[in-house]
Symmetry: C2
Subunit: 247 residues, 2 copies
DNA sequence: CGGCTGATTGATCCCGGTCAAATGAGGTGG
DNA sequence: CCACCTCATTTGACCGGGATCAATCAGCCG
């Protein structure tokens, strides 16, 4: 499902993403590629990569596959607080804190680079463009998190789901995971419900509404956006918070 | 309402907070105090300090007063995505991004230190403990943002409001703004509604429920928590995500 | 074939939104 | 000192978006 290419192209989504945030130097790219090559790991689907309360000693850079960050309440209620997509970095600099405040689970088999703290610190100490790119990653993550707050707090179910789909579409695009107007979409309706703060039942009905309005197709783990403009306007979506293009 | 002390004690909340995140060196503290002294500014209540879309060229460190970060939708719906309290830093490193994705408004008159980008970069370049403390600030902010997501997405109104009050109480405590079990609480019910994703009417009723259950007192801009344990358990509150104590 | 997970549907209920109005608490100018 | 305005809080009545409960259905896998 996610075969690892035999050449160095695995690092491509990462380089593309970081380079879009902050122009990377050639040496920076080279050392990143080396670190990624040396730290490559595989995990299956449905595994917890990190659990709330764990200490973090390395930085994980996602090369392929989908993950989600989530938190749970004592009684089992769960909220997905973000997704992590290929090219993104799970927890740059998080080792500065004593432990992590949320869990991260794989939704698909995942290939990632596990870069140990000392190695990561060397990487960012040697090249300022790389350091700043990772900081931008972190800052953009914060911005996404804020947008999720208004999504959860102030949008209606239909707007909320449409907004999430728009966001994921935009985040997949720069790393080359959109083909035509479709993309792999390995997220169950339960996951979508937990990401939008809705019940599974209502999420299902909301998806049907989006489908029957001709905005999207979603079946067999493939999402096709048939009317992006309409989807954006029902979502009240504006992509500026994703910082997809450099200043 | 917020008189500026004549001595250097203005910087105290900031030093206390950063030092709790990351042990600061003595020189670090000295240079921080200098930067704060030289950049001190005042603003009135109800002003926008920054608006969504603005470019950011400096870092603002809050010395006294309350602010909120918020986002709005085209049709006027508003979500407060976080509060900014004395000792906290508005936007460390945010100048790395082309513009800001949200607005920040003052809720009270505010005294803050405006540290220009070059000066800030010098500050963090000279002292690693200061640099890391500011990064911790940013990371903790992300963690708070995630907790807000589960608050908005998965907690009931009563739990939500209780949770917000617990959080603010905990955040005010380390900077010495809790006296006994009370604190100044300069937030209107409309603000609280926008922070919890509720309507003003329902927020009002929820506060009444908390009051009549004997958990809180709230009048004349003063919050008293009369039963912290009960408040915490109705909120399902756990303060770990605030990282109030060093590892 | 039985068991499991995920998607779908129907029926009912309730949490919280909306609308509308009243009350109160400063603040200001005559 | 009072009339008046504005902004925040409070209350009441009603409504609706989305939750909950409970089946059913469709793949998939051992």
């Amino acid at each position: 499902m996610h075969p690892a290419p035999i050449d160095g192209s695995l690092a491509q989504p990462v380089i593309r993403r970081l380079n879009a945030l902050r122009r990377l130097s050639d040496e920076g790219i080279a050392s990143l590629e080396r670190a990624i090559r040396e730290g490559t790991q595989h995990v299956g689907a449905g595994e917890d990569l990190i659990c709330e309360g764990d200490a973090v000693h390395s930085v994980r850079i996602i090369l392929s596959g989908w993950l989600c960050r989530y938190k749970t309440l004592e009684d089992g209620r769960r909220q997905i607080v973000n997704f992590v997509l290929p090219g993104e970095t799970c927890d740059a600099y998080t080792y500065l804190l004593s432990m992590i405040d949320h869990s991260i689970a794989t939704l698909t088999p995942v290939v990632y680079a596990d870069v140990k703290r000392p190695q990561f610190e060397a990487l960012v100490a040697h090249d300022r463009s790389v350091a700043e790119a990772f900081w931008c990653e972190t800052l953009v993550n914060s911005a996404i998190q804020r947008e999720w707050a208004i999504n959860l707090g102030r949008r209606l179910a239909l707007e909320r789901v449409a907004h999430l789909l728009c966001e994921l579409y935009e985040r997949l695009s720069p790393v080359g995971l959109i083909e035509g107007n479709s993309c792999a979409f390995p997220v169950t309706q339960m996951d979508l419900a937990d990401a939008t703060g809705l019940s599974v039942v209502h999420l299902n009905r909301t998806l049907q509404e989006l489908r029957s309005s001709g905005l999207i197709l979603l079946r067999e783990r493939t999402l096709t956006i048939t009317d992006l403009n309409a989807l954006r306007s029902t979502a009240l979506f504006s992509p500026n918070y994703l910082y997809l293009h450099r200043a």
